[in-house]
Amino acid sequence: MVDAAIGEDSVVRPRRAAGRKGLRHALKRKSTVAFLLTLPLILLITLLVVYPAIYSVHLATLNKSMQRFVGFGNFEFLSKRDTFWLVVKQSCIFAITAVVFKALIGFIVAHFVHNIPAKGQRKWRGMLLVPWVIPPAMSTLAWLWLFDPSYSAFNYTLAFFGIGPIPWTGDAGWARFSVILVNIWYGAPFFMIMYLASLKSVPDQLYEAAAIDGANWWQRIWYVTLPMMRNIIAITTLFSLIVTFANFDIVRILTAGGPLDKTHIFATWAFRVGIEGSDIPLGASVSLFMVPILAVAAIFILRDVNKRGNES
């Protein structure tokens, strides 16, 4: 009965009175409704993502006074400057080191939390998430005080063991170490919570089967846990790589790029030349350099995820 009613409505009638009927039918179609429902989000993304992105591409093609079109002039200029290549190198070191350690620490901590009895687990999960929940601008200020060369808790404690004082933010090597350390401290909880969720979804029977098959704990991690978590690891790493690459607040507050530009990464250097150096087009060009690097990483990682998704 229902089928017959729909058939009559949609097949016979539309031939006549096409105008208003057509609109009503368009509204009835599922795809139209879906489009209308997503329209607010599409507008929001256009406004906040697409427009600024296109605008920054436009900016990058202008001269310093933003009066004249220079094409790839800014990029050519950048590629001839040593500081720029230093920033590229530092960004890569910063992002890769930080992400590797965040992933490693997150994985280890997730295992510990996973093995805590269910009763106490919530408490620990909550406490371990704290670094990630505090706004990094604030928590980095606390780190800045901890890293103070003369009066900080770190150097004071180390002095008892006859070590130091360590120039945490004053020496190029130590400054790089410090910004990476704070970034790891801030980002590891995110990995922990993602890995914990993924660990919980591995069926216990797989571990039992592996135990009977003769696997020790390390082999269980290598042959069962890691393969089962591969997708989550890939996606989390990609996401974190993007966020870490584009990090601004931690470096800005802790070292502001110093000493001697030795801790500058893309975002902080773009800010330095664009806002502080009043060359907005050049700053835009610096930040646009991140796009191809991240795009390549994203393509590789997502292709792997897709491939395995299709397999299973």
Partner: protein
Amino acid sequence: MAEVNLRKVVKRYDDVEAVRGIDLDIADHEFVVLVGPSGCGKSTTLRMIAGLEDISDGDISIGGDVVNDVPPKDRDIAMVFQNYALYPHMTVAENMSFGLRLKHYPKAEIKSRVAEAARMLDIADLVDRKPKQLSGGQRQRVAMGRAIVRNPKVFLFDEPLSNLDAKLRVQMRIEIKKVHQKVRTTTVYVTHDQVEAMTLADRVVVMNKGRIEQIGTPNELYHNPATRFVAGFIGSPAMNFVPCRLEEAEGRLHLRLTDRISFPLPPARAARYQSVSRNEPLQLGIRPEHITETKPHAEPGIEPFEALLEVTEPMGMETLVYFTLNETPVCGRVSPNAGARDGSPLRMAMDLNNMHLLNETTGLVI
């Protein structure tokens, strides 16, 4: 290949005793099925044999060695899980060879063992697939293959067929039996399905509330159950239990079911029940196939009575009939030609040569 012995094995979770002192000796090559309702401790017992659960008390030995503190990987056992527990990221061949690869077997031997097991289980053309690309029955075969290639001392099966549909279950049951006939490995098999237990086992262990109710061959359990639980659990449709009394009449021992129905006991039965107190509350246990339509010529011990049929279920080769006896629902099995109809009376006969008498308070078969 090895025997498995359980001595007073106990499993406690905090203050709950899941397994309460089990003694069980499983001979080499034997196929033993642990059967019972859910929560009876059968899976826990199996997992203790596997080493996946600690033993709270008692001893478990495999091949004569006590393995209480031996981790699962060193017990030389293989286990098939209810949901198969195949590694989803490995192919069938990788799943099957995982244990051998961990033990660093030579590649050629791994290959030949996997090929051999795959051929035995008829999955040779699936070895390069991933578990997700297999049907339930195929996954079941792979899980069995993984156990077979290891060539362990003992096979453990934890309700391996309960995720399959009814038709496939029957097929895989036969398959498991065939495999056991070929490899002859000592096998412990857990199920809640009494048909599976009866068809597969050399010996069946019926468990209830953490204890063993009875151990025996399928036929022993069926024909000589020791307790009411076993009598009611084994066999389908289940055994009927009707409250009754023994009484002396005309110099013979009679079984009184209702005011109107009383049967003289056959001599063998009468001798056996002579010492039972006449006033004790008893239960008659009788299987549906021993309540049939009357036969043309009388046989000793088969007593006729009148029944008002409430429901009849034609099954094709037989018809199940339901009626009330002494306020208790009773099921009988009659020939499809017996003329059984809903709501109509039928002359039935009870074969008292195959009856059981149970003590109502202790639940033991007398």
